[in-house]
């Protein structure tokens, strides 16, 4: 073959490859220029570099930059959009999902992404019950098969309208992870040992905008641009713009703010508590921008009472809707929003963020702050005040309980104090008990608590939160006697209240309805019952607050850990 002929052939092949590639075009943002570095913070060192090897916010944040799912969320509307899958169809009575993979997507080591990778990820990792960060529960009975090199089919045992949301889980490279899998002849638990923190960075291969360059133990993770990334901007320039992402490991939030003010961090997610300090600097002319958005994600705090309290008298009281609604009237949401969140919060939804398309306006049902009305309602329940002003239970003992909260969260401690004060004013004695915020949920799922201030995350689709809000669910912790007596068994329906049964039926129905309008109507009804019964008392929904150096353009707030939402790819350095 002559050189000319070879060149001609080569260019033909290249053209062919270009013609078959399907880059995704991201438009509606400024066109940035390539280059630059962005430094951000991680609150803890990654426990592993394998997304499914641990439930760990550090690796979740990093994985968002290094891997992609089949689908992703729109940066502005949170609507589902194609990612590694270019298109999909839902057929067979909403039970068969067929995904056509995007053509021309390459792993960061140059290998092609194929249907084998997708099938491997879901069958060997996600559905592996021993993968610590897997999700076997939601893939039980789901058949996952390769149709051809570019097509994957999921067949569900029954229709699940939110199933599509699970398709944003990061796809992993089969050619690197096979040796850790059952398919590769290992025990199921072995998958957790893939890519430990001392792995050779070249092994960590992904399709995301960045790939791993180095990890300095306990200090820093450096990612560099993946030249093979499959997104383009409106002008056809390849994304991402930034050459490097650096993550400094800074456990203390005050130290993070200091590092940001010193200019060592380019972007930082903060809370309403830090907002005044930073905003003041911005107004004084510091080269930073502090922005607040109404948030879809994030965990709004609620006040829950233990329906199955060890003290039978308290349990009987906590089970009464009238009691919970009376307590709700004593909750000064406006003060909490103003004082604790510095105004950067809004009235909460009931299990759904107010900004979500699923939100049903429950504001009226949340009631208003009225101590006199709260007192009157408690009087009506027969809870007379004792000589010291504390109300008495029927047995003559004072109405007194423990209020558990996260003592290392400035937000939760402030809220708990405000609640305690207002409850005192209506003759209810709450004794504060601070525990580590990280242990709140395990405490709540235990038996040893009376009332608790706890936050559980909002998601784009209520269905994703079934274990929390559906009575008898794993995280329906305030009424544990509804939970199955044996793992995997049916809920204990005999312990349901009528309204809980109604909610249960609504969720059952919604889980097999695929029409959006019908589902919305069902979930609307649930939110109304939730608010009416004050099942748990929602307190406030914080805004998302982020600070960014003015050096960077196209900044969009991101929690960082949500799979399928990664606007860092469009950020650029001015």
């Amino acid at each position: 073959m002559t050189t000319r002929k070879a060149l001609w052939l080569l260019s033909l092949v290249t053209m062919g490859a270009l013609a078959s590639a399907q880059p995704k075009v991201v438009s509606g943002y400024e066109n940035g220029k390539p280059g630059g570095t962005l430094t951000m913070a991680l609150s803890s060192a990654p426990q592993t570099l394998f997304y499914y090897g641990a439930i760990d916010s550090a690796i979740q944040t990093l994985a968002n930059q290094m891997f992609d799912g089949l689908i992703e969320y729109n940066y502005k509307t949170y609507q589902i959009e194609p990612a590694l899958a270019a298109s999909w169809t839902i057929t067979g009575g909403s039970k068969v999902y067929t995904f056509k993979l995007r053509k021309g997507v390459k792993w960061s080591d140059g290998r092609d992404l194929t249907a084998d990778d997708v099938v491997f990820t879901y069958t060997q990792i996600v559905a592996n019950p021993e993968a610590k960060g897997g999700d076997a529960g939601n893939f039980a009975g789901v058949k996952i098969e390769k149709v051809d090199a570019g097509t994957v089919r999921f067949t569900l045992p029954k229709p699940a309208p939110a199933f599509i949301h699970y398709m944003r889980l990061p796809i992993m490279p089969k050619h690197k992870l096979l040796p850790f899998s059952q398919e590769g002849g290992k025990k199921p638990g072995e998958i957790n040992n893939a890519w430990p923190t001392n792995v050779d960075p070249a092994e960590v291969v992904g399709t995301g905008p960045y790939r791993l360059q180095s990890y300095t133990a306990g200090q820093k993770v450096t990612l560099v641009k993946n030249p093979n990334y499959w997104k383009r901007d409106a002008d056809g320039n390849s994304l991402p713009y930034l050459d490097r992402l650096e993550y400094l490991i800074i456990p203390d939030s005050q130290a993070q703010v200091a590092q940001f003010l010193a200019g060592n961090l380019g972007q930082l997610n903060i809370t309403g508590t830090d907002f005044p300090t930073l905003k003041q600097r911005e107004v004084q002319g510091a080269p930073i921008r502090v922005v607040a958005f109404r948030a879809l994600f994030g965990s709004p705090p609620h006040l829950a009472f233990n329906y199955d309290d060890k003290n039978p008298e308290l349990a009987a009281l906590f089970r009464q809707t009238e009691f919970r609604r009376a307590i709700q009237s004593a909750i000064n949401r406006k003060r909490i929003i103003d004082d604790v969140y510095n105004g950067l919060a809004e009235l909460p939804g009931n299990g759904v963020a107010p900004v979500s398309e699923w939100y049903y306006d429950t504001t009226r049902l949340l009631g208003s702050y009225d101590l006199a009305a709260a007192s009157a309602a408690l009087d009506k329940l027969g809870l007379k005040r004792g000589p010291d002003g504390v109300r008495l239970l029927p047995s003559g003992k004072p109405l007194e309980f423990t209020l558990t909260y996260g003592s290392n969260s400035s937000t939760f401690s402030a809220i708990a104090t405000i609640l305690q004060n207002d409850l005192k004013a209506i003759g209810v004695k709450a004794n504060l008990q601070g525990i580590l915020a990280a242990n709140l949920l395990s405490t709540g799922r235990g038996k040893d608590w009376d009332a608790i201030v706890l936050g559980l995350g909002d998601q784009p689709d209520p269905e994703l939160r079934t274990p929390i809000w559906k009575p008898g669910g794993d995280l329906y912790y305030w009424h544990q006697s509804t939970q199955p007596a044996t793992p995997g068994g049916p809920p204990q329906f005999n312990n349901f209240f009528p309204w809980e049964k109604e909610i249960y039926d609504l969720w059952e129905k919604a889980a097999s309805t695929t029409n959006f309008t019908q589902r919305k109507a069902l979930y609307d009804r649930w939110q109304a019952i939730f608010a009416r019964e004050a099942m748990v008392i929602m307190i406030a929904k914080a805004y998302a607050v982020g600070a960014v150096s003015t050096k960077y353009g196209n900044y969009l707030y991101s929690l960082g850990v949500i799979p399928g939402y990664n606007p860092v790819a469009i950020m650029y350095q001015k």
Binding site: A45, A54, G134, G137, A217, G218, I250, A262, N264, N439
Partner: protein, 322 residues
């Protein structure tokens, strides 16, 4: 001397065994555990937790777990971190370098500053310099180290500085060593040195001062002076040498600080040491990491004590190996 060392070693073994039983017991006593924490995530089912429990041998009776661990520890296997899916030794090794460096540097600085200051304040105890040094000493003793850290960070920030934590600027953390990297480290190092060292400096200075004052009133000092010895000889050969003895025992006790002290300051200052790692492991109930670190701390305490006794015997001819 060697028989003394050998005897001390023999005593150390049962002590360490007792300590290990205590630590293991305390870890088992805390409510919940690493696996229970996992259940917080709705994705994790009870069955998953049970299989992982078997995988880690946590379904065995506590005493079997303890003996397994002990067997491994004796053979130099520090166990396995549940949190990191990695052997503990590698994780500790990654963080040990900076920890030892910082600790030794701090101990050295502390001594180099504190002992002369203690002598000085004892000799000129009513002078202006001594009063100022004492004041700083009181401040150092009375202020928690993390507060000093926050104050220093605030001071650096308000003067427009950028070195507010860590040992390096971000771009140097994973860069190869160079003159620029070294200078960058020096620019960061003074804050942790002050924060970690201030408390120790103050207490050693106070101790040295008290010892000196005590010794200076002794008869043998008067005798030495009346013999007509030069003041320099009286001071260094008779006074200081006697006054410094109690400090040598203190030095031995400061060895375990390598691991367990200054956890909070390390977190506030974002230092790449073992302290924050231990803290994380405690919160996450990563039991073998906690065991390994606390046992290392105990062993260092033993070694430190032994070294102090040897040094004491060497420095003070009145002390004999018993």
């Amino acid at each position: 001397m060697w028989s003394f060392v050998f005897r001390r070693f023999l005593v150390a073994v049962p002590t360490l065994l007792l300590i290990s039983v205590l630590i293991f017991g305390v870890i088992q006593l805390q409510p919940g555990g690493f696996l229970e924490n996992m259940l917080d995530d709705p994705r994790v089912s009870r069955e998953t937790v049970e299989t992982i429990r078997k995988q880690y041998g946590l379904d065995q009776p506590v005493w079997v777990q303890y003996l397994d661990w002990l067997g491994g520890f004796v053979r130099g296997d520090l166990g396995y971190s549940f949190l990191n899916n990695r052997p503990v030794s590698g994780l500790v090794g990654e963080r040990l370098g900076w920890t030892v460096f910082l600790a030794l540097l701090t101990i050295l600085t502390t001594w180099v500053v504190a002992v002369p200051l203690g002598i000085y304040t004892a000799l000129r105890r009513h002078g202006l310099g001594a009063t100022v040094a004492n004041l700083i000493g009181y401040f150092g003793l009375a202020t928690p180290d993390f507060l000093v850290a926050l104050l220093l960070i605030f001071a650096v920030l308000s003067t427009g500085g950028t070195n507010v934590g860590g040992l390096f600027s971000p771009q140097y953390i994973d860069a190869p060593w160079s003159w620029a990297k070294f200078k960058d480290m020096l620019a960061h190092l003074w804050i942790p040195l002050i924060v970690i060292g201030l408390d120790g400096t103050a207490s050693i200075m106070r101790q040295m001062r008290a010892n000196m004052l005590d010794v200076l009133t002794q008869d043998y000092i008067r005798t030495a002076r009346s013999k007509g010895l030069a003041e320099r000889v009286v001071l260094w050969k008779h006074a200081v040498r006697n006054a410094i003895n109690p400090l040598i025992s203190i030095a031995g006790l400061s060895l375990p600080n390598l691991i367990s002290s200054t956890i909070i300051a390390s977190i506030v200052l974002n230092l790449p040491t073992i302290g924050p790692f231990l803290y994380d492991s405690l919160l996450n109930k990563d039991q073998y990491v906690v065991m390994a670190l606390l046992m290392m701390s105990a062993i260092l305490l033993m070694i430190g004590n032994l070294l102090a006794d040897l040094a004491l015997a060497w420095a003070d001819p009145r002390i004999r190996y018993e």
